[in-house]
């Protein structure tokens, strides 16, 4: 590097330091700092930088200094055992061995040392014939005359001969202190002559810089927001999705018989408090009851059992997103229409790398007078393109209690290969006809968690609700 380039790379501190050194002799950091008008830490850094740039010559010399050991530092904070003993005796002048150990917080070894030293200095006496210690007048004088605190303070300035005992006790040690001094060299002096030509300092643009953690949305939220946006772009309207629902919406409206095994305790959560919710108006209740018992106004035979309102009124944390579609069928349904919900759902599972106890389901339906099975397949194909970037799809027969026919969608994801992307089907006539809905409704659900895990680059599903702040801070923005 030429001199001009070196001059341009110098910081203000280095420039000032170099000037301060010019024409002079060796300086240590404190001397340099004072002369250059910078702090001692800055001077130390400048020394290192200038040495690296070969503008100064560095010399190191060792000096023996006294310093506190770790034990000594501790004793300085808490007081030496002998001092603690005297301090305690200054309050209560005569104490038994045991009391004194307690009051001065001394262990047996510390007590022995303190007893020996204080006795030697005649600060204390042992009361003859008794296991008791009493402070002497000499001891009191010593305490009252003691102004500078502990014998351990200011140890650096003491002479080795004064602290022989403390060294033996491992409180003080001799340390070799390396002192660095620098002296400007010929290139340094030449660079000073170049400083006048420097207009702007050039930074080391390759160096490390401090990290900034920005504020941002949780990655899974970012992903769900993009799903929400895509669905609205496809014409879907977002539904109300409460966390707690009546079994009526989770099961009954969906034509799931009340003794169906999927309604058992092992498959869904139920509530202890509150227990029961309100059901919609009598007409709707009767329509659902009839659907279950006899098929109602539909041509179906129904399930042939006696349907109970009390069971339908039971409350539960929503177990699937279709519960919200069920509510929509009853409240403010517009035909034709497209609906969706991204809903938090709950299942009594164990939390592990592949299971969540709470998860999000993305479900909805399309309702219209002239919808048919081909439209169902068409909708699924569109979902495969929109959500998985998949042109190739396969349809498999599937089963849901509330749809017939039912279809499972497999899509060929460009990175993941064939994946089960979602389920779908046409709502059963027992539901639609009894609720007085004309036409067909195509219900669907997309398995968004798998896609989210792919987008977020995670293998452990728990990271969707990540508890790892570093991971969240370092996560990239979710781009569509």
């Amino acid at each position: 590097m030429d001199l001009k380039a070196i001059a341009e790379s110098l910081s203000k501190i280095e420039q000032d330091s170099l000037k301060a050194l010019s024409g002079g002799g060796k300086m240590n950091a404190a001397e340099l700092g004072e002369k250059a008008g910078v702090g001692i830490d800055s001077a130390r850094r400048a020394m290192a930088w200038m040495t690296e740039k070969n503008l100064v010559d560095l010399s190191e010399s060792g000096e023996i200094m006294l310093g506190l050991t770790a034990k000594g530092k501790n004793a300085l904070e808490e007081g030496l055992p002998e001092e603690r003993m005297l301090n305690s005796l200054s309050g209560d002048e005569r104490q038994s061995f045991d009391d004194l150990k307690k009051s001065a917080e001394l262990d047996q070894q510390e007590f022995n040392i303190a007893l020996g030293l204080n006795k030697r200095n005649a600060y204390i006496v042992i009361v003859p014939g008794k296991q008791e210690i009493e402070i002497t007048e000499v001891g009191k004088d010593f305490l009252s005359g003691k102004s500078g605190g502990s014998a351990l303070s200011g140890i650096e300035n003491k002479d080795e001969s004064e602290v022989g005992d403390l060294i033996k006790r491992g409180l003080v040690e001799k340390k070799e202190i390396i002192e660095r001094k620098i002296k400007i060299n010929a290139s340094g002096e030449k660079v000073i002559s170049q400083l006048g030509n420097v207009k702007e300092r050039k930074y080391n643009i390759h160096g490390e810089v401090p990290k900034i953690f920005i504020g941002k949305k949780q990655p899974y939220v970012q992903f769900l927001n993009s799903v929400r946006r895509k669905l609205t772009e496809l014409g879907f309207k977002e539904m109300y999705a409460p966390l707690v629902v009546q079994e009526f919406y989770n099961f009954d409206v969906l034509f799931q018989p009340q003794n169906h095994p999927a309604r058992s305790w092992s498959d869904t959560y139920q509530l202890k408090n509150p227990k029961l919710g309100k059901l919609p108006d009598k007409k709707v209740i009767k329509a659902v009851k009839d659907a279950h018992e006899t098929g109602g106004v539909s041509a179906s035979s129904g399930w042939g059992y006696s349907w109970l309102e009390e069971i339908a009124a039971k409350l539960m944390p929503a177990a699937h997103g279709t519960a919200h579609s069920a509510r929509q069928l009853i409240h403010n349904l517009k035909v034709p229409g497209k609906y969706f919900a991204i809903a938090r759902c709950f299942r009594p599972d164990v939390l592990d790398a592949t299971h969540l106890i709470e998860f999000n389901q993305c479900e909805g339906f399309i309702v219209g007078e002239d919808l048919n099975f081909k439209h169902l397949l068409g909708m699924l194909k569109q979902f495969a393109i929109e959500f998985a970037g998949a042109e190739e799809v396969k349809f498999y027969p599937d089963y849901y209690p509330f749809t017939e026919p039912s279809v499972q969608l497999s899509a060929k994801h460009p990175d993941l290969g064939w994946i089960e992307l979602g389920g779908s089907g046409m709502f059963r006539p027992e539901m639609l006809e009894n609720l007085g809905i004309k036409g067909q409704a195509i219900a669907w659900g997309i398995g968004i968690d798998r896609l989210a895990m792919f987008k977020l680059g995670i293998k452990d599903i728990r990271y969707l609700f990540s508890e790892d702040l570093n991971w969240l801070r370092n996560s990239k923005m979710v781009l569509d």
Binding site: F213, I214, G215, K217, Q218, Y220, T232, G235, F236, K237, E238, M239, Y240, P242, L243, V244, H260, P261, Y269, Q270, L271, K272, N273, P274, K275, G277, K278, S298, S300, S301, G302, L315, P317, P336, G337, V350, I357, E358, G368, L371, N372, F373, K374, H375, L377, G378, L380, K381, F395, Y396, P397, Y399, P405, M426, P429, E467, D468, L469, N470, L472
Partner: protein, 545 residues
């Protein structure tokens, strides 16, 4: 959804056709079966349709595939001869377990695979279709050890027999208390004074339904040639269906099925009886719903492929199907079957043309705006669970006797209630991130639930914003600035009053009011920090949105 294990070679033998692995996986879609795993030649198949118990065995899968693959056309048919054996069903069982159905299968060749399939089918039917033996319980017996006619009655608890797995006689009530099956299923009959018992003409016990068979005739071995089948429950039609499914599987293995005459309250009933049912399908509606303009002939051909037969009468088709198909309760169930026979993947998808406008809920839009404000403040969003524990939501923050929305059947002590507030979850989050760089600045927007007796669900679901900062140089004043920034950017007016919240530092915390909405703000006190194992100072604000 039951998972069924089938052996590939055995299945191929039953169908009469060999498959590659891929061909078999593709064919299984006809029975809504999804391969869960291959273990050598053993396939574990998830059977999705919970209303088709007839498919839950190799025999059942083979029966369905034979139709769909064109090896058999139309209805599967099974012949039944009279056995001459009768069964008396006592009316004393009325409330206990009143219904029974019986059959006999002769000349069965018992192999390992046969036993495995029969045990599996029996178990799947009893567990899923039979609601854990409550509605259907099945017993298989060595007919050659059954003497004469049988009698099913409500027996005294003091009667005795040797149950399977045991060597000594046990009283019926002892079986309930001591036998593993008694402990597992005893609750189904325990409350009655008498228990169901099936005996032969010599008085030897066959079984105590729905608990356990006897160690005598109830033990099937490779030497067994002739079988007696017993099904009990509450609904005659349901147990008849279960009996027929078992008999079809036995017949598919070469068994000759014979019927038993049941005498009950002076009436006679013969089981099994393979019948058919009819359903009318409106052809125009079928065409409209499927979107396929099939001819009548095509329709009938698809019907036969689906294991049914049909006749066209004007604009309707009269479809006849085997009466064990209890899943067919509406014409759509037939339409699905013909679409499956047609093959979903050979039907051309069509775009939905619908002139509607999509939009998010206003709440979603608003909450995302709040998120934008928080991101602008440099906060990292986190997500926590709604399910929580009393320990976190109450004890650790110094509260007692709080009312929560509470689960009736929690599976873990960690997830018992639904959260009422977000910040305790965030204090837990901070604990798990003590090694991450400070300052730590996080937020969450999420639901918090309270009891709301006036509401439809008795629950009030509130959207809350929680902001938590852990930093030595960040306290009440800084958090109030944050609150101020959030509220002024969202146009919310608020006032602050003194807080008595035990989780917060007195004098450095406040209650927030925003009209009817509430919130809390301040520095978390040392006691609460200790409860959560935190060393750095923490400030919190949480408001209803």
């Amino acid at each position: 959804m039951p998972t069924v294990e089938v052996e590939k070679k055995d299945l191929e033998k039953l169908i009469g056709k060999k498959f590659s692995k891929q061909e078999l996986e593709d064919a299984l879609m006809y029975v809504k079966g999804e391969v869960d795993a291959w273990e050598g030649n053993l396939i574990k198949v998830d059977m999705k349709d919970t209303n088709r118990p007839d498919l839950w065995s190799s025999e059942g899968i083979a029966r369905e595939l034979k139709g769909r693959l064109g090896i058999r056309k139309g209805l599967p048919e099974y012949k039944v001869k009279k056995s001459g054996i009768s069964a008396e069903v006592d009316s004393g069982l009325k409330n206990i377990r009143p219904k029974a159905a019986y059959a006999i299968a002769k000349g069965v060749k018992v192999t390992d695979e046969f036993i495995r399939q029969m045990v599996q089918l029996q178990e799947k039917i009893c567990m899923t279709f039979g609601r854990k033996r409550d509605e259907v319980a099945i017993g298989l017996f060595d007919l050659d050890q059954v003497h004469g006619n049988v009698r099913y009655y409500a027996a005294d608890k003091g009667e005795e027999f040797i149950p399977l797995e045991y060597k000594v006689k046990m009283r019926l009530d002892e079986i309930l208390q001591e036998h593993p099956k008694g402990k597992e299923y005893g609750h189904l009959i325990a409350k009655f004074d008498k228990f169901p018992l099936l005996t032969d003409s010599k008085g030897d016990v066959l079984s105590m339904p729905p608990i356990i068979n006897s160690a005598g005739s109830g033990k099937i071995t490779e030497k067994t040639r002739n079988l007696f089948v017993d099904v009990t429950g509450f609904n005659q039609e349901k147990i008849n269906t279960a009996l027929k499914i078992i008999c079809m599987a036995l017949a598919d293995r070469g068994g000759k099925i014979e019927s038993v005459e049941i005498k009950h309250k002076g009436k006679k009933l013969t089981t099994p009886e393979f019948g058919t049912k009819k359903i009318s399908v409106d052809l125009d509606s079928a065409r409209k719903m499927s979107g396929i303009d099939f001819s009548n002939k095509q329709f009938l051909s698809l019907i036969r492929k689906s294991g049914m037969v049909g006749k066209i009468k004007g604009k309707k088709a009269e479809v006849t199907y085997a009466d064990y198909r209890r899943d067919i309760i509406h014409a759509v169930d037939v339409i699905e079957d013909i679409l499956i026979s047609e093959g979903f993947n050979s039907i051309k998808p069509e775009q939905v043309e619908m002139d509607v406008i999509g939009h998010e809920r206003e709440e979603s839009i608003y909450l995302d705006k709040v998120r934008d404000v928080c991101v602008g403040l440099g906060l990292q969003e986190i997500l926590t669970f709604v399910l929580s524990s009393r320990e976190r939501q109450e004890e650790k923050i110094g509260l007692k006797g709080e009312k929560f929305v509470e689960l009736a059947n929690p599976v873990s002590l960690n997830w018992v209630i639904m959260r009422k507030r977000l910040y305790p979850e965030h204090l837990g989050f901070l604990f798990r991130n003590k090694n991450a760089d400070y300052p730590q600045r996080i937020f969450e927007i999420g639901r918090a639930l309270e009891l709301g007796p006036g509401n439809e669900t008795g629950v009030e679901e509130k959207e809350k914003l929680c902001i938590v900062v852990s930093d030595r140089r960040f306290g009440f004043t800084q958090m109030k600035s944050v609150l101020d920034a959030v509220c002024s950017n969202l146009g919310i007016k608020y006032s602050i009053s003194d807080s008595g919240n035990p989780a917060f530092e007195k004098g450095k915390s406040g209650e927030i009011s925003m009209g009817k909405k509430r919130g809390v703000l301040g520095e978390i006190n040392q006691k609460t920090l200790n409860e959560f194992g935190l060393e750095m100072p923490v400030s919190v604000m949480e408001i209803e949105l």
